[in-house]
């Protein structure tokens, strides 16, 4: 039985694809053994690979695939606190606890992420404006550090290490387990409304009047320009109260039956995602929603995880892969940065179908966590190579000028210089990390690119 196998890994964007020696421990002692047996190589945890770029990759190093470290260790039905190994997925939590009336406090747009990945990227969901990020609901983390010690850290014990580990990109150590507070829900249904928004100003108006909804997000047509710039479909909802009935014809009921059938079996040709098809997709999707507001009671899955119904949908971008660019900029009554970004995209014609906009709440998150008060925009781009990288560099400048930042969990190309200006807590974070991992045993390709790792080896 060989511990390490050479594998090519990639994130959800399938760019870049990098080789490393991988191991897949099935119990905690095998994680210790992997750390001890890494030779002179650096190490990184890899969950379900739903980061888009190179956050979970480590070219030429040793990678620990954590998905089989998935034991649920303790649950208190009186409070909702659950203690789990870091490879447990959101999907697994939902399937286990929804029948008992509990739901994860924060979920991303896919349920195929691990708790370790959710902590390392301090993920946010549609309820950020009310409930903050994932790590706002984590009280304790059990970490395997570079020295081979197991450190349980929380607000009282090794608080600095806890601070640096939430949103710490896997670079402070390997998370073995964590304690997460689930929230009580009445059932699987979501009371939701869809509002057709005509342009950017309308989006902000609808967002402002949606304060009574715990969950908000808007799809945005990033092909439309001029007066229609920023048009889209705003979705808002909340967990439904007991006794709610699903609306007739709602996708939810049938979805379980059909979802295994929907799969992208192989790479689509690279030309599939071109200017014309993008325009058609966006137009058709926008027209689907009638004027005004429609209300319905939906199953949670199409509301939270609409993309999960098509397995491997990332393959429609072809073998060149895709890049996602997610930014947040502080509130601005004129929304100048968002306008500049949308203008730059329509100008180059490189926009895509999947674009999402949301206003974050005003909670600030420390360390390398991404969310900050303001508005966030997430954009998918087919990998057009150089012209796209040039466009994204341009967007970085807009974001920096506005005092914003980009999300590292989605990133594959940000420059070190831009990164250092975007994350003001960087020096403090580095100080804590260097105390716990002076040799930079834990590294990632993203960390190397951004100057976080490997500088002193």
């Amino acid at each position: 039985m060989e511990r390490w196998s050479e594998l090519e890994l990639h994130g959800w964007g399938r760019y870049p694809r990098l080789r490393s020696a991988c191991t897949r421990p099935e119990r905690v002692s095998e994680v210790h053994a992997a750390l001890a047996d890494r030779g002179a190589d650096p190490l990184l945890a890899h969950g379900l690979g739903r980061s888009y770029g190179d956050a979970a990759l480590l070219e030429g190093g040793k990678v620990v695939l954590t998905r089989r470290l998935d034991r649920m260790l303790d649950f208190d039905p009186a409070t909702g606190w659950v203690r789990c190994e870091a490879g447990v997925s959101i999907e697994d939590l939902v399937n286990t606890f929804l029948p008992r009336g509990f739901f994860p406090p924060v979920v991303p747009g896919t349920q195929f992420v691990t708790l370790g990945g959710a902590i390392a990227n301090d993920i946010h969901g549609k309820n950020h404006h009310v409930d903050g990020t994932f790590c706002d609901h984590i009280r304790r983390v059990e970490l395997l550090t570079a020295a081979g010690a197991v450190v349980v850290c929380d607000a009282d014990h090794e608080p600095e290490l806890f601070w640096a580990t939430v949103g710490g990109l896997g670079l402070t150590g390997l998370i073995l387990s964590c304690e997460l507070k689930l929230v009580p829900v009445a059932g699987p249904l979501i009371e939701m409304e869809s509002v057709r928004v005509e342009n950017l100003d309308h989006f902000f108006a609808v967002s402002a009047e949606s304060a009574a909804f715990t969950h908000t997000v808007s799809w945005i047509d990033c092909v439309a320009r001029g007066k229609s710039m920023g048009r889209g479909i705003f979705m808002r909802g909340r967990h439904a109260a007991a006794g709610a009935q699903a609306s007739p014809g709602v996708l939810g009921g049938v979805i379980d039956a059909v979802s295994p059938l929907m799969q992208v079996p192989m790479d689509a040709p690279n030309w599939l995602m071109n200017k014309l098809t993008m325009r058609l997709f966006n137009e058709a999707y926008y027209r689907k929603q009638p004027h005004g507001t429609t209300a319905q009671i939906s199953h949670y899955a199409p509301f939270f995880f609409p993309l999960d119904f098509v397995r491997d949908w990332n393959r429609v971008y072809g073998d060149r892969g895709l890049l996602q660019y997610q930014l947040v900029v502080p509130p601005d009554p004129q929304h100048r940065a968002i306008r500049q970004v949308l203008e730059a995209i329509t100008e180059t014609g490189m926009g895509s179908f999947l674009a999402v906009i949301k206003e974050f709440g005003d909670r600030a998150h420390p360390g390398l966590s991404f969310p900050q008060p303001g508005v966030t925009l997430a954009l998918d781009f087919p990998n057009h190579g150089r012209p796209l990288l040039d466009l994204l560099d341009r967007l970085d400048r807009v974001v920096l000028d506005a005092g914003g930042r980009v999300y590292l969990g989605k990133d594959a190309r940000l420059s070190r210089a831009a990164f250092e200006q975007m994350y003001p807590d960087l020096d403090r974070w580095r100080g804590v990390r260097d105390r716990w991992d002076p040799q930079h045993v834990f590294q990632s390709s993203l960390g190397r690119r951004l100057g976080l790792s490997g500088v002193r080896r």
């Binding site: 039985m1 196998s5 099935e26 089989r68 649920m72 260790l73 303790d74």
Partner: protein, 242 residues
Amino acid sequence: MSVLILGATSRIAQQLAHRFGEAGHAIFVAARDADEAARIAADVAVRYRVPTASAGFDARAFEGHPAFVADVEAQLGALEVAIIAFGDMGAGPTADFADAHRVIDVNFTGAASIAEAVATVMEARGDGSIIGLTSVAGDRGRQSNYVYGSAKGAFGLYLQGLRNRLFSKGVHVMTVKLGFVDTRMTFGMETGLPVASPEAVSRALFRAWERREDALYYPRFWGGIMGVIKAIPERIFKRLSL
């Protein structure tokens, strides 16, 4: 009614614990690594809210096996199902005989020893199931893994005899011949053939147990492959490099 899982640190065994836990059975988790056995028991208890217990178990501690079974029954009540999932592939035929000895001890002697201990209590009660995991490697000896294969093959013969003995006593014995499964044993191996997930294995075995099947291959296509392999005349087979 309780289910005993032996060699529970195997991913296949854990998934089986999930299937039986999901169906409401009390689960006894036994593995060489007692700490890990306790974690697995906790996992099953959290997920399925069934009674669980765990203990260290070594397939080669033969003399202790009858007492071990008594202890399991004392903790979780009468055993309805015992699953013998442990196995040891060894380093291969080129290693020294100590390695081969251990492989035989675990896969055959240890398996037969604990099966005997379980059979004794089930036979007395006239109820229960004994499920043994063996391998397609036990169907024909090949130079690359014949020590492991012969021990698994011997365990298969043993289960056949036990089934014959216990049939009239109302005790069910099921032989499972596994092909490639995606576990620690096969991680990173170039198999050239489809590899089953441990979860799929557990679902198929659980259904087969509900139907009280005698023997099965999983994945099922291995039945066909092994039929062909067994049919090759020895004078040709001995020249192949398998």
